[in-house]
Amino acid sequence: MYGKGIFKGMWVTLKHFVATFTDDFRMIGRKYNKAEGIEYRMSKDVKGIFSIQYPEEKMPVPEEFRFIPFLLYDTNEDGTEQIRCTSCGICAKVCPPQCIWIEQTTNPDTGRPVPEPVEFFVDIDICMNCGYCAEYCPFDAIKMDHDYEMASFDRIDAHIFNKEKLLKPAEYYAEIRPLNWEREEIIRKEKAEKKKAAEAAKAARAAAKAEAAGAE
């Protein structure tokens, strides 16, 4: 019969339409606009269509999500801030569109580089959010942020991020990427211990040498 296919199609559309509302009714009294509600409505079991009511509710951001990079600093026990970046320049080298500029510090007395950048720039008008800088940083000093709400009226001043604007506390990172943080902390601790052990061994060797020299 001519027109049967059209009716079949209309039937599917109608089913979708009804399912969307029955889904809504089913969610009454439950936490619809919380993460678990959204999780449910994104799953395989839902038949209807759903919308996120941005900005009141937001899609849960997965841990691996990446946007613009930021720099990490640790807060020491005495309250001073320790930037993790050593300005080794690997992020600037692996950056595909070359949007990272790093200025190394040199010690004015010795003229040798000091492991902390004077300045660190990211031009976010060039950045392609690829995440290489975070992936290849050997010191876990640069990471990808989750904050995507960055619309602005101006770009000339607002879109080149300097060190000040890029720096965020390590705790923030631990909060947005708990699993990565855990994994990296274990490795960092191991490394720190190894370093300590190596230093202790070196000191011991030096002491032994000094002793031997003294004995002669």
């Binding site: 269509i49 996120i52 899609m59 008008d125 060039i126 950045c127 392609m128 602005s152 770009r155």
Partner: protein
């Protein structure tokens, strides 16, 4: 009326209170609030996609993110019917004349949103020989949205920023309500040995002589 009083309105009350006095009423300021309320909730974007960002723009228009909640679902393929130009992707030199022409054809008030790194400042392709380092070199941009590509929610955030801008505009201050001073169309660039902006002609000639 020399003794105009100013009344302080606390920030949290600003959205609810419409303050006016006789002078403003005469000038038409009282109309701003309802007028802008109407405008901000029925911005019609132009159906115009450039590159990768256009896909995210369509995803934003689809059911999960649903631009219709902002009154923006009426995507018009014709510039004559649209209020907002979303520059969604890399702008190439070959495409610039068309974009400027489309912008000129839009009726005022018109807004331009530069979506993504490419439209804002060239993005990862900035160094390319056929890529324009930001559409704002050729047409004025109101809101820049960063990201490559911005997620649908980042785009919605940009739209809210634009609504903020519309809210702050007043009928008697904006240039397009000014009858005395009509707005000239922007000069359309020409594709020569490289792209030529008519505004740069003097400089090009000067460079040849130097």
């Amino acid at each position: 009326m020399t003794d105009e009083k100013t009344i302080e309105v606390p920030d949290e009350m600003r959205a609810q209170v419409a303050l006016t006095n006789m002078a403003d009423l005469v000038k038409g300021n009282l109309l701003d609030k309802p007028y802008n309320w109407g405008r901000r909730n029925s911005i019609w974007p132009m159906m115009f996609g450039l590159a990768c960002c256009a896909i995210e723009m369509i995803a934003t228009a689809a059911s999960r993110y649903d631009m219709a909640r902002f009154g923006m679902e009426v995507m018009r393929p014709s510039p004559r019917q649209s209020d907002m130009l979303i520059v969604s992707g890399t702008v190439t030199k070959k495409m610039v004349p068309q974009i400027v022409r489309l912008y000129n054809q839009m009726p005022e008030p018109k807004y331009v949103v530069a979506m993504g790194a490419c439209a804002s400042g060239g993005g990862p392709f900035k160094e390319g020989y056929n890529v324009v380092a930001g559409i704002d070199k050729y047409i004025p941009v109101d809101v820049y949205i960063s990201g490559c590509p911005p997620t649908p929610q980042a785009l919605l955030n940009g739209f809210m920023k634009l609504q903020e801008k519309i809210d702050s505009q007043s009928i008697n201050r904006e240039r397009w309500y000014d009858k005395e001073d009509p707005i000239e169309a922007l000069p359309v660039p020409v594709l020569g040995p490289d792209i030529m902006d008519p505004r740069d002609y003097a400089m090009i000639t000067k460079q040849a002589k130097a």
